[in-house]
Symmetry: C2
Subunit: 207 residues, 2 copies
């Protein structure tokens, strides 16, 4: 079974804080009447839809997309269903999860069930991020368009990115149950940037 | 072994016919000095770099990206090394290849060895495209930025797209030897468009 956990990209899609400048713009640059074929162009913020944050997003001179290692992104992942939470993913909750060194973990939250941007989207608290950093995880994904919300100084991003832990934002996990999957995350190969738009699928593990 | 067969996306990358409007534009929309973080936006033609052409590209009311089936794009592929050819992939050449119904095939040509756009890039002749259509292949990829060159009425595209055969353009196959591989092609999930930017990897088949 294959689960497409990527957000559909269209002009009216949900974007962070409903900011108009974060919406993608698709422009027709050739059409059948004038050109005999059809061609379009897209303009979009690299943090719209399903994407990876690289350290450069929050750390001056941090690693950018050029340092991405594809074999890190084609990997087993643990999906944890935390859709019952209403605010943050707090330390008490995270401590109870089976998380080990080198794990790549994905959090399924209430965000996956909304096609509109939620002002109160579930996010990863900074204490939890520091706990995951200390656990030496490889990466963490979430189904919100941000992995943190209204935390001064972006401590969640920093705890993770300062340790080159991959952050994936904008997942769609509604159809995915808690469990272990094979993730294939292929970001566009844009060189030298702080984030990358990605298509991501999960596959059932063969037993 | 994993082969990344995607073209790096950067502002000075090679584009079809060196047309300036086909070059991607990356714009900084937030930076450390002003915002305390770094964020950028990309604008690019959907036919720049490694991408899939859907029928709508050449057929009015043809199928668009919404009809893409990911399981078709995660599949075995046959890579044929035709890098000795100087002009088109002609019918005589294609007829000698081991191609069967439902195959997904990739053509490695001299295009893979150039970082500049080649005006005389190797392309798939329309007779060859019709032969592949009649063989009922599933898809065909090439390492040029176009699968055809200066053929009036785009007969190569039409023979393939009219039969919903996937076309991949802009592959980078320099490091890949002729043989059978597992391809993972994940296009960005842009809805309702005629093409999709993609990241594509090949994996050695397990014996």
């Amino acid at each position: 079974m294959l689960y497409d956990v990527s957000m559909p990209i269209e002009e009216n899609m949900q974007v962070y804080k409903n900011l108009q400048q974060k919406k993608p713009r698709i422009t027709q640059v050739a059409n059948f009447k004038t050109n005999g074929f059809y061609e379009s162009e897209i303009a979009m913020n690299l943090h719209t839809g399903t994407h990876i944050d690289y350290p450069l997003h929050m750390i001056e001179n941090g690693n950018d997309s050029s340092y991405e290692v594809l074999t890190d992104l084609i990997t087993d992942v643990k999906v944890f269903d935390l859709s019952y939470l209403t605010d943050s993913i707090d330390l008490n909750t995270v401590k109870k999860l089976d998380i080990k060194e080198n794990d790549f973990i994905l959090f399924k939250t209430k965000n996956s069930f909304s096609e509109e941007f939620l002002n109160d989207f579930t996010y990863l608290g900074s204490d939890s991020a520091k706990y995951l950093r200390d656990k030496k995880i490889k990466g963490v994904g979430i189904d919100g368009l941000g992995i943190e919300r209204s935390q001064t100084g972006h401590p969640t991003h920093l705890a993770l990115l300062d340790n080159d832990i991959y952050i994936i934002e904008g997942l769609r996990l509604k159809a995915v149950k808690q469990g272990v999957y094979k993730m294939i995350c292929l970001p566009l190969k844009i060189i030298g940037v702080e984030a990358a738009l990605a298509r991501i699928v999960l596959l059932d593990k063969q037993i």
